[in-house]
């Protein structure tokens, strides 16, 4: 842990300027946007003005073809959260900005209705009246009974903090995409099932009709057909046609390009299914023959119904619920993902940012960070298998590539965390060179990492393929692979394509909703534009006309769609056209100019700013904002797709939150009561989460207890030294709860062997064995009365050379002497720190520094190996000793701590498969001393 989110200063701009700041300036990456209301002297943590809800929440809405926009559910599902907030009103707002052009129906020149696989759209909007800002994620689900087979939905993350939405846009987008992908996958499955049923119905109907026709034919051998017979024949014909149409639809839905699914780690289970689907569907159109049919047909035998000739497209039928639309399984999965999102973005923006920076920094120290940091393997796994963008296909998940804050960090920050170590190596180098040298040094550990550093340092910007598509479909067409089977799916160019992008965003709503332009592609925007864009508001005026016109145009072109235009999709213009949309504004044209060259198929960022309509703006006081603001300094747009998601703090964050969720599960999934998990953490056997990282609350509690321990026991230092130097500390006591508590507290000082397990055993009552000391570095041992020479105590005395023993009942400690300077800094009993979480952070930062020293020590070649052949071992040993003492400033036993950490680093670095096995037990033949209160 490098930063300390909870000590982030509450700054006002003026004060900041007045105060002479003598300390080294806060590194840029730590700076957090100033609190917007600071001028009013408000407490930054107070509720923001005007918000009618107590905290952020997620809203799912639908534009129902029967009743219009309606809220479906909120996460958390607790009325207390959104309070008096008008969900209906807000649903109307958010649904009305959907532009999704999911073109379904009979496109001109095509015989059958076509499904279009539409990319989701991501929009940020604000409503000052409600004091709400939202990230809105629109998606379309298929429903056979719905008009045009589509049902528009949206998921919105609603927050009172506009900056939070803007700055976390990338993360929000990435997370919501996962949720959406999950929903859509379930939906495709359900839709395919539905189609199959329908086909059976039709088939049955055809048989019936056919029989009837035959009967009639026989009855009428007069040579002419009665009108009845003709009607039947027509009916039959239409059924046949309908069958063909449905078969075609089925084929289409099955041919959904499964490549899109890659990377949506959440919907793991179905990947292979869809894979089957695609491959099978491509070869066989007959569902009965394809092997994957069982996927759809292996359900309770379905009895076909007779379908009436006149289809009843009426409003009396009940529309499917969201859960019915998707598979229940997927629906639940989505809900889990959404509540995960809710957890993930809980809290103040500055907290989120700091912890993201923190994660990103830690990520860079990938060689040392396993020692003391809680990492979840999930993060590792995700990173190890990054989604591979298909050739020639725009990276559909490129949002992940643009994590926000870490861009700034890079090498410089690494330096900062190490800079207290006075290493005089490349002093003579200029700053730039120093950086580079540093980079080079870093790179010696991992070429991959090196790439990242370089990238961050030089390019510093994000090449994002993801734009907020206000015109979603342009993307979608591009995304579709150009295979034969899908060629037909590509939307034929129709007149609409000529429309400009700006048009498409029909802000038809009569209201105060403003679509804030959020373009992750701001990487393409040069600094100078950025500077100019506070003035962007002015630009809007010139837009208004355009968009008006566009709407008009649309109406005339696609009249049939107009009915559902409010939520319906517009056809996306091909990407080349979007340059036209922004003409007229200076800055816009600049933007366009810059973005145009990037309009290769692989980089289709529609940069769209959508101004609200002028007249309304005046009334309602909309906010216009640009996501660009949040972005880090943009330097250079040359960065191409490198594996940036390695650095993505959101992933880390996500992983962290997974664990959090697991702890909080009990409380949050069921109800919204605040969680009790943390209180139970002391008592619950941590064996329940033996390897799991601790939650925030857990950490806080641990910090608190550690603080208590330090204050209570004068011999805390040697005890902590034992832990840091890898000598097993046995905490002996009668009361399990007390022992567990202390073990949990002390575990923050225990270096991990690997990322997967903390070498801590909270409670054991059987005699210890030599293997226990090899495996565990901190053990809670039950004191049992046993005859002398038997039981745990005897074993303990036998192995006393490997252990330090802390006797809680007698308040005594037996362990080697400690005379270093490190632990006193780490555990000062006179510390002013009061809060557990603060202390925890203090410990973490001290340990981070320690890790840096261990890192330097480990990776300096000459400290361990002779520089040339003639050097003797003694010379090397001398150099090693002086490095430890003079350069790293280590005193006495501190050396052993660093040496132990260095051994762990070596082991881990050398190990081919990290995480397997336990390291050897290292020990010293040193005398122990007894401390007693």
């Amino acid at each position: 842990m490098i930063s300390a989110p909870d000590v982030v200063a509450f700054t006002k701009e003026e004060e900041y300027e007045e105060e002479p700041y003598n300390e080294p300036a806060l590194p840029e990456e730590y700076s957090v946007p100033l609190f917007p209301f600071s001028s009013q002297g408000a407490n930054p943590w107070s509720k923001l003005s005007g918000a009618k809800f107590s905290r952020d929440f997620i809203l799912i809405s639908e534009f129902s073809e029967q009743v219009g926009p309606q809220p479906l559910l909120t996460i958390p599902n607790d009325t207390k959260v959104f309070g008096t907030f008008d969900l209906n009103y807000f649903s109307l707002r958010i649904m009305s900005v959907d532009y999704q052009a999911s073109f379904v129906g009979h496109p001109p020149g095509s015989a059958y209705p076509k499904l279009n696989f539409v990319e989701d759209s991501k929009v940020v909007l604000g409503d000052s009246k409600e004091g709400a800002f939202a990230y809105v994620h629109h998606l379309t689900l298929y429903d056979l009974e719905a008009r045009g087979f589509v049902r528009p939905f949206c998921m919105a993350y609603i927050s009172a903090d506009q900056h939070k939405i803007m700055q976390q846009f990338q993360e929000l987008s990435a997370e919501f995409s996962k949720a959406s992908e999950c929903l859509k996958t379930g939906n495709r499955k359900a839709f395919a099932g539905e189609l199959e049923k329908k086909l059976k119905d039709l088939d049955y109907t055809r048989t019936v009709l056919h029989t009837e026709t035959e009967i009639q034919k026989k009855a009428n051998d007069k040579g002419f057909y009665s009108s009845q017979a003709i009607e039947k024949a027509n009916e039959l014909a239409s059924v046949e046609k309908s069958i063909i149409e449905h078969q075609d639809l089925l084929k289409q839905i099955r041919s959904y390009p499964h490549r899109k699914l890659k990377g949506s780690a959440l919907c793991c289970g179905e990947t292979e299914h869809t894979q089957d689907q695609t491959s099978q569907a491509a070869t066989t159109s007959n569902p009965d023959e394809s092997a994957d049919t069982d996927l759809y047909t292996c359900r309770p035998a379905y009895t076909p119904k007779l379908i009436k000739a006149k289809s009843t497209k009426c409003f009396d039928k009940k529309l499917k619920t969201l859960e019915e639309l998707c598979d229940t399984e997927y629906f639940t999965q989505t809900l889990a993902q959404l509540s995960h999102i809710e957890h993930m973005f809980r809290g103040d923006l500055c907290y989120l940012l700091t912890s993201q920076i923190d994660r990103a920094l830690l990520k860079q120290q990938h060689i040392t960070n396993f020692l003391f940091e809680d990492f979840v393997e999930v993060a590792e796994k995700q990173e190890s298998a990054p989604p591979k963008p298909g050739p020639g296909r725009p990276p559909s998940r490129s949002l992940e590539e643009c994590p926000i804050p870490q861009v700034l960090i890079s090498v410089g920050s690494y330096k900062s965390s190490v800079e207290s170590v006075p290493i005089k190596m490349e002093q003579e180098l200029g700053d730039e060179e120093y950086k580079e040298a540093d980079v080079a040094e870093m790179s010696s550990f991992d070429p991959q990492e090196n790439l990242d550093y370089l990238d961050m340092d030089m390019k510093g910007s994000i090449s994002s393929g993801e734009s907020i598509e206000v015109l979603g479909t342009e993307k979608s067409t591009a995304v579709l692979p150009k295979s034969d089977s899908q060629a037909s799916l590509t939307v034929p160019l129709s007149p609409q394509v000529v429309r400009s992008k700006a048009v498409s965003h029909r802000t038809i709503s009569e209201d105060s909703i403003e679509v804030l332009s959020t373009c992750p592609s701001e990487a393409l925007i040069p600094e100078d534009f950025k500077a100019s864009y506070p003035s962007a508001i002015n630009e809007e005026e010139s837009y208004a006309d355009d968009s008006e016109g566009a709407i008009h145009f649309q109406a005339s072109v696609s009249a049939p769609e107009l009915g559902e235009a409010e939520e319906g999709g517009l056809e996306t213009p091909p990407s080349q056209i979007d340059s036209s949309c922004c003409i007229g504004k200076e800055s816009d044209s600049l933007r366009v100019r810059l973005s145009t060259p990037a309009h290769t198929p692989s980089d289709q960022d529609g940069v769209v700013s959508i101004p609200p309509q002028r007249y309304r703006q005046k009334d309602q006081g909309f906010h216009v904002d640009f996501a660009v603001e949040n972005a880090s300094p943009l330097r250079d747009s040359s960065s191409e797709g490198f594996p940036a998601d390695e650095l993505d703090p959101s992933r880390l964050l996500a992983s962290r939150d997974v664990s959090k969720t697991s702890l909080d599960n009990y409380s949050d999934s069921a109800s919204n009561m605040s969680s009790l998990a943390s209180t139970s953490s002391d008592r619950t056997p941590p064996s329940a989460h033996p390897t799991g990282p601790s939650s925030e609350r857990h950490k806080k509690r641990a910090g608190q207890n550690a603080l208590k321990f330090i204050r209570q026991y004068p011999f805390a230092h040697p005890a902590i030294y034992s832990l840091l130097s890898g000598r097993t500390l046995v905490v002996l006591g009668e009361d399990e709860a007390i022992v567990r508590k202390l073990v949990t507290a002390l575990s923050i000082f225990v270096p991990n062997h690997s990322r997967y397990a903390k070498p801590v055993k909270h409670w054991v009552s059987s005699p210890l064995h030599i293997t226990d000391f090899q495996r565990w570095k901190l053990i809670g041992l039950q004191r049992v009365a046993a005859p002398a020479g038997a039981g745990p105590l005897h074993a303990l005395s036998r192995y006393s050379r490997y252990t330090s023993v802390l006797d809680l009942d007698n308040k005594a400690l037996r362990c080697p002497l400690y005379r270093g300077a490190l632990v006193p800094r780490l555990a000062d009993h006179r510390t002013q720190i009061k809060r557990g979480s603060t202390y925890y952070l203090h410990v973490q930062s001290t340990l981070a520094q320690l890790c840096s020293k261990a890192f330097l020590y480990t990776f300096c070649h000459h400290l361990h190996l002779p520089a040339h052949d003639k050097e003797t071992e003694e010379v090397v040993a001398g150099r090693q000793a002086s490095f430890l003492k003079l350069t790293l400033g280590l005193v006495n036993e501190d050396v052993k701590v660093v040496q132990y950490l260095a051994e762990l680093l070596k082991l881990r670095y050398v190990q081919d498969t990290p995480g397997t096995g336990h390291p050897m037990l290292r020990f010293d033949y040193v005398p122990s001393f007894l401390y007693k209160i």
Binding site: F445, D446, I770, A785, V805, K906, Y909
Partner: protein, 463 residues
């Protein structure tokens, strides 16, 4: 209950005060073994360890499985399953010269009355012999003759292909407890109190058959012979249960020297009996020998004795090196002008006693060096006992304990020394422990690390 805490946690009760054992504190500056690795694979007593090559060893025990380990990493390489009962003997087997593969082979004998030949590189069971009338208790390979012998209740001679060449008649129900090779195609077998010399007759032109003939029976021992080793080119040594050590001429099988009473265990026995830890006879039984050019190191009872072959007397001893009988003793290579031996005992831990000359001059003559001893005691609980030095007569030799290694919770059955990888111990607690020189290992890890860096092209040396 605080007692152990206050008392420094070492010797709990009783024993500590009464035992005359030399102990060594927690500070063992000369003890290089500061790293250990516990190897777990067996589920019964591990009795045998055999070194296969520079970095591998095999272990076997009462669970009937043989495990091949990497001594450097502690990695379990192979597990050989084939015996249904405990393994009674384990020996490396030289590859057939004609054999195309030069794989390392081992022979194992088991209480299930089978002998199996294993390939330690592949884990393959090469061949199995199951025509034994009794359990084979010892195996010996006579490389000169390309045959191997198995000793149970009778003695069988086999060729490399595991064909039975010839066998003796039934010798005794107790069976052969030890076998060594001596010149003139002879072997010595220890059967109960007797030593029997057999001669192997290789096929000649007249007779195509192998034959084995009993040449002589040596009846000098009063009690069961526990140990039998070749000391050098001219003599071999035997030790019996009652503390007789006899040095024999290897050619004419006559007694060169005999030490019977010089151990004089009586004073210590009393103390021991009071504590009821050891039985009297055990105190002087000779379990194992090791030797160098001039000296024989004998594990006598709980102690360690150094017998000089030239002076024909004991030059140094530590009578209670361990708190129970010493089961195995081995000499470590000379280091820094000192010799060291390691002993292991019945007890829980290995103790490790150094033998060192106090004075510099005599060092050159005698035992200059330190002996690491492993001892194991029979007594149940105590862990470490060091060997002490004792000045015997004039020779300024002494045994000094340089360290003890505590790790096993039951008796240490055997150990192996690897020049490069440290010590391997096996024990009745089913574990094998690899003791390593921590400093050296740390250096090796650094070396490996920088090698890896270099391989990855990430190593940048400063200009």
């Amino acid at each position: 209950m605080l007692r152990w805490l206050i008392g420094g946690g070492r010797e709990p009760q009783g024993l500590a005060e009464k035992s005359p054992l030399q102990t060594i504190g927690e500070e063992q500056t000369q003890n290089p073994y500061t790293e250990l690795l516990v190897l777990k694979a067996h589920h019964d007593i591990v009795r045998f360890l055999v070194r296969l090559d520079e970095y591998r060893f095999a272990s076997a025990g009462d669970d009937g499985i043989v495990v091949v380990w990497n001594a450097q990493t502690g990695e379990k390489l192979l597990e050989l399953n084939g015996h249904t009962q405990k393994i009674t003997a384990l020996i490396t087997f030289p590859s057939l010269e004609a054999c195309e593969e030069k794989n390392q082979l081992i022979l194992t004998a088991s209480a299930d009355r089978t002998v199996i030949l294993w390939d330690c590189d592949t884990g393959r069971q090469v061949q199995k012999v199951s025509c034994f009338q009794s359990t084979v208790k010892c195996l010996i390979v006579l490389q000169r003759l390309d045959v191997w012998l198995s000793g149970g209740n009778d003695l069988c001679v086999w060729n490399q292909k595991l064909d039975l060449l010839c066998k003796t008649s039934h010798l005794s129900d107790t069976g052969i407890s030890a076998l060594i090779e001596i010149p003139k195609n002879c072997v010595v077998a220890a059967v109960g109190k007797e030593l029997i010399i057999f001669q192997l007759v290789a096929p000649t032109e007249e007779s195509l058959e192998w034959d084995i003939l009993e040449i002589k029976r040596l009846l000098d021992h009063q009690d069961h012979i526990l140990s039998l080793v070749n000391v050098n080119d001219v003599s071999f040594v035997t030790g019996s249960h009652v503390g007789e050590m006899i040095i024999w001429d290897i050619l004419d099988w006559t007694v060169q020297a005999c030490e019977c009473n010089f151990w004089d265990p009586s004073p210590q026995l009393d103390t021991q009996q009071e504590i009821k830890l050891c039985q009297k006879p055990n105190d002087i039984s000779i379990h194992h020998f090791t030797w160098d050019e001039e000296n024989v190191f004998a594990a006598v009872g709980r102690g360690l004795y150094v017998y000089n072959l030239q002076m024909k007397r004991v030059i140094a001893c530590q009578k209670s090196a361990h708190d129970s009988n010493v089961l195995h003793i081995a000499k470590l290579p000379n280091r820094k002008g000192r010799r060291s031996a390691v002993t292991c005992s019945h007890k829980n831990h290995v103790q490790y006693a150094p033998n060192r000359h106090v004075y510099t001059k005599p060092l050159r003559i005698g035992i200059s060096g330190f002996f690491n001893m492993w001892g194991f005691g029979r007594v149940n609980k105590q862990a470490s006992q060091p060997v002490k030095k004792q000045q015997e007569n004039a020779p300024p030799c002494s045994l000094e304990l340089i360290g003890d290694l505590i790790g096993h919770s039951s008796s240490v059955e055997m150990f192996l020394y690897f020049e490069d990888h440290g010590l391997v111990t096996c024990s009745a607690d089913h574990l094998i422990i690899l003791w390593k020189n921590g400093e050296r290992e740390s250096g090796l890890r650094s070396l490996k690390l920088f090698q890896k860096l270099e391989e990855d092209g990430d190593l940048y040396l400063a200009v």
